[in-house]
Amino acid sequence: MTEPSVALATKANMVEALNRGLHEAMAADDRVVVLGEDVAKTGGVFRVTAGLLDRFGEERVVDTPLAEAGIVGTAIGMAVYGLLPVVEIQFDSFVYPGFEQIAVHAARYAWRTKGEVPASIVIRIPYGGGVRMPELHSDSPEALFVHTPGLKVVCPSTPQDARAMIVAAIQDPDPVIFMEPKRIYRAGRQELPDEPALGDGNGTGTKHLSTARRAREGDDLAIFSYGATVPLVLDAAERLSLELGVEALVVDLRTLYPLDVEAITGAAAHCGRALVVHEAPRSAGIGAEVSSLIHERVMLDLEAPVGRVTGYDAPFPQFANEDDYLPSVDRIFAGAKKVLDF
């Protein structure tokens, strides 16, 4: 049993943090198994599962045939038997063939069994654009799962959260769609505490999967985001401060279902102005839900309608144009200004 070097590093980027969380969860509970395409021998195309095969053996870390419905479906069966499978979907769009198993079974197994046998699986999905990949390696399908009752949908934006959240997701009895912002997989490093804990030290267990995080304090404008756009929002917030003297409160949603409604309405009401940012398409996306929640609950506290800066309702472009598609600091800044100037 050798710990891979990656897990020993104290400062970790998101890939290493996820890897560390997986090592910890597998070591803590021998019901945890990992399966997916190319996850074992090579440790995954992004190396998130590196070292698991050597340490936990090929019964618990499995390279599967190339069939996403089969992967998700057999993982559900394993969960029914009592295991805690963690599935890797190689890239975002490749979750679509598994959609039926997720929607009709993963999401409904607890409900269909009097709460006794939830489909205790975690489906890890490296998602989103910005890494210059060919077609269909850059989708952001999280809203599809948010709109599918019975799932939890989460998305970390920092190494610390990634590590804490993957451990919590595995321990959570319910099926968790775990969105991994591949664009910031190696963006920066953070110290990882000895025990998995969320970045703001918020509680443990299921709390890890239901609370948003204030990533920046401010009084003038609340900006909500998650995943790969959080660092961009923080950059835009700095620019707002420098150029306009506007202090933005930045909320990293972290959990997309169920949303942390109090954190959201609290921040929006506090600032009186709000903006939502994500890279998924706009129509019926998370931004629409956040915007609706805010208006429904605290419209009277608002001085402007909630703005949205999002990906477009067009297919994710070939990568030479992906920077046009993705919300940039400039677009976030402009979107914020629009809300401020209202």
Partner: protein, 373 residues
């Protein structure tokens, strides 16, 4: 490969074969009891549907051998995964028949669902072929945990067309799981005949694609169904991997209570098959073996009748579930905040009048004549 295993004859041109090793007299009676119980449930359910006491129902009349025969081959620790067509299989494993009836009455929660771990019986699966990977996953997990359990799953001829059938078969063969794929080839998928479903001569030969044994059996013969299943389970337990069983039979009845097969098939063909139906056939066989006589059969039938009658009473004693059921058991880890808000909203308006399962929907439209599960 295309040899169809048959043990029970028809008392006429088809000869009886030897009762397979491993089945004592007691077992034969027990198996017959299972067939009769399933039959009784099914006939009663159809009547209940006609009376509007349960909703549209997928009857399995004639397919009891594929169910009770195969199940009888399972050890208690083996898991089974039924489709809607094997909806009542759980009652042979300890699931309350009233629970299954309640499911068809449209009840959820503790009334219409069961805990699969209590009886190693998966939930009734509605979307075609999607439960096959679950059976693979269960037997794979058992293998990882070094447990003895196998898994068996039933599905139809139509189900073999779905990608999930293929992916499940492939996973099972690659990971050499102890899984029995029991295909009830009743030759129809609603109105679609098997000739429109596939171009292969048999379903069993599909096993070749996975380097897996594929066997054919008379699906109206409970003993033959028992035998091929027992052999498959033994092979699986010994590390021999999965097996595909094709139980060749015929869908004697309509697809469901809303279906009229006269629209799409020749019902004289159906009559021909009906003569081979398993309950009468097994009964005659047991008489030929002098294991059964009128008294004994009457006793078994009466017992079954009472069991199901009681189940109907139990089902009807269940109060119409309250609206809170919508939000129960969705998450094991606790209720999200919006569920409470939703209940508040629901509670604030008058509840729609309690509806009979087939009472007119309170919606403006009404009357879609869905024919399927």
């Amino acid at each position: 490969m295309s040899e169809i295993l048959r043990i029970i004859g028809n008392g006429e041109d088809l000869d009886d074969r030897e009762v397979p090793d491993g089945l004592a007299e007691k077992d034969l009676v027990e198996l017959f009891r299972g067939l009769v119980l399933l039959r009784t449930f099914d006939e009663r359910a159809v009547a209940l549907q006609r009376q509007g006491r349960i909703g549209t129902y997928a009857l399995y009349w004639g397919e009891e051998a594929t169910q009770a025969g195969a199940l009888y081959a399972c050890e208690d620790g083996d898991w089974v995964f039924p489709s809607y067509r094997q909806n009542a299989i759980g009652i042979l494993r300890g699931v309350a028949p009233s629970t299954v009836l309640a499911w068809w009455r449209g009840y959820g929660g503790t009334h219409g669902f069961w805990n699969p771990r209590d009886h190693r019986v998966g939930p009734i699966c509605v979307p075609i072929a999607t439960h096959l990977p679950h059976a693979v996953g269960v037997s794979w997990a058992a293998k990882i945990r070094k447990d003895r359990a196998s898994a068996l799953t039933w599905f139809g001829d139509g189900a073999t067309s779905e990608g999930d059938f293929h992916e499940a078969m492939n996973f099972a063969s690659v990971f050499k799981t102890s899984t029995v794929f029991f295909c009830v080839n009743n030759q129809w998928a609603i109105s679609t005949p098997i000739s429109r479903q596939m171009a292969s001569e048999t379903i069993a030969q599909k096993a070749v694609a996975y380097g897996m044994p594929g066997v054919r059996v008379d699906g109206f013969d409970p003993l033959a169904c028992w035998k091929v299943t027992r052999d498959a389970l033994e092979r699986g337990r010994d590390g021999g991997g999965p097996t595909l069983i094709e139980a060749y039979c015929y869908r004697i009845m309509p697809h469901g209570t809303a279906d009229d097969p006269r629209l799409y098939r020749d019902e004289s063909e159906t009559e021909r098959w009906k003569k081979l139906e398993p309950v009468g056939r097994m009964g005659s066989f047991l008489r030929r073996l002098t294991i059964l006589d009128d008294t004994k059969e009457e006793e078994i039938r009466a017992e079954a009748k009472e069991t199901i009658a009681q189940a109907v009473r139990d089902m009807e004693a269940i109060a119409h579930p309250g609206q809170e059921i919508l939000f129960e058991h969705v998450y094991r880890s606790g209720r999200p905040w919006n569920f409470d808000e939703a209940l508040d909203e629901l509670g604030s308006v008058e509840r729609p009048a309690e509806v009979k399962p087939l009472g007119p929907p309170t919606s403006p439209g009404a009357g879609a004549e869905g024919k399927t599960q």
